[in-house]
């Protein structure tokens, strides 16, 4: 919307983009820090994934070093699905989504509000999981490049995931459908992020890593733009 619409009594009609976006973030974080439904589910699930991998792959100390990047990203992808599903289901139960759409706010502000809260929740889970992983497997994960890759990858994962979750919660098959819709679309993120993470852990030179990082950035830009344009169509009948 180019010009700001002004109502008869001189008040701006549409609540500003940032204001409405932060209202959504505030609402999600307040509810979540009280109930901790989503965070605890993601956290426990992530721990279980880490444990199961240990036994499934019967890792010894040396092999563990090599699969760490893979285990981390499988954990993120699966726990993320859980979180995205829950975060949109909250809006769908009791039709709260309609309540949001009735307000005079830009639809994209609602989408980006949800993206930011989902991003926060996933980062919180990682902040807890990574040190635990470091301790359990006696491996230093505090490599700045790795942490940067994780943030970049999670952004991409959440940007496409939030858009798809807002559709999947409106279908009959709901919870089952999200991973099926999302994983093939999020595959570039997972592949590039695993690659970059592994290289960072091995201490490879940057010119090997840049292609993966660039791909992650490209994905984030393309999908942010696409979601910005497409979210309107998700919510408009």
């Amino acid at each position: 919307m180019g010009l700001k619409a002004i109502s008869r009594d001189g008040q701006p009609v549409q609540t500003s983009f940032l204001r409405s976006m932060w209202a959504v973030v505030w609402k999600d974080t307040t509810a979540e820090f009280r109930s901790r439904e989503l965070l605890s589910a993601m956290l426990v699930f992530s721990l279980l994934v880490v444990l199961i991998f240990n036994f499934a792959l019967e890792l010894n100390a040396r092999e563990r070093q090599e699969v760490t990047a893979g285990v981390i990203w499988v954990t993120i992808a699966f726990a993320g699905t859980l979180g995205l599903n829950r975060s949109m289901a909250v809006e769908k139960d009791g039709n709260c989504l309609d309540g949001l759409l009735l307000a005079p706010v830009d639809r994209a502000a609602i989408y980006f509000g949800k993206v930011i809260s989902n991003l926060l929740f996933m980062l919180i889970v990682m902040v807890i999981i990574l040190p635990i992983y470091s301790i359990l497997y006696n491996q230093n994960l505090f490599v700045p490049g790795l942490l940067g890759t994780i943030v970049l990858g999670i952004i991409g994962y959440v940007v496409s995931g939030t858009l798809l979750a807002s559709m999947s919660v409106q279908t009959r098959t709901r919870d089952v459908l999200l991973p099926i819709l999302h994983l093939p679309v999020a595959l570039p993120v997972v592949i590039a992020a695993v690659r970059a993470s592994a290289y960072f852990l091995q201490g490879q030179p940057m010119d090997l890593i840049w292609p993966s990082i660039n791909l992650l950035i490209g994905y984030n830009v393309i999908f942010t733009a696409a979601a910005y344009m497409l979210f309107d169509f998700v919510v408009q009948e």
Binding site: L163, I180, V185, P188, I222
Partner: protein
Amino acid sequence: MQSKPVALKVLDGVTVSLMAVSVYLVLVFAPMEAVMGNVQRVFYYHVAAGWVGMIGFLFAVFAAVMYLWKGDRKWDVMELAGIEVGLIFSFINIVTGSIWARPIWNTWWTWDPRLVTATIMELVYIAYLMLRQGIDDPERRARFGAIYAIVGFLSVPLSFFSIRIWRTIHPVVIGSGDAGAEGSFDMTADMRTVFFFCLITFTFLAVDLLWHRVRLGFLADKVEQLKMQLSS
């Protein structure tokens, strides 16, 4: 109910004749490739099927954009037709590729970017069909379908590039060859003739099948409409 249009009947005839000629060209006319032998003949249909798959998916994405823009149901019918045709021919493309790879690469399957990308594209559009299946309201089904068709299509090239960060062994026959590719060969003039004939034949096949599928979709809509008129 309208009968089959004359243009479509003509197209059917042309397509069937071209297919018959292409079988002769591929199996008899084309020279045997010196190193790979007869199995190389699968290449003509392999590439052509991949080509039709791409036509199907591109057509579907175009229809998806048109649907979101115009909101006309006919674009939804076309989108679904494009994806169904695309799915089948990409599948043929993968299977024929596998048949060729067994003797040449000594394996049915490798984790090569082109193979994996083709498979991911199949998975994306199978997911698309599952999404449609989960929605009862036809308007929402069309809307969500169009959105997912576009999102999926955007992700496919990114998947390709991300996998390419690993090395590829798939031969590049058209355009600049990759020195490391295994199983690449130079086409003779006759081979080139057969190759382009197959591409043209399959293009006709693609248009013919899309037309039939779209027409079927419109007829199904009409049946639905008549049913509703009867019940009300």
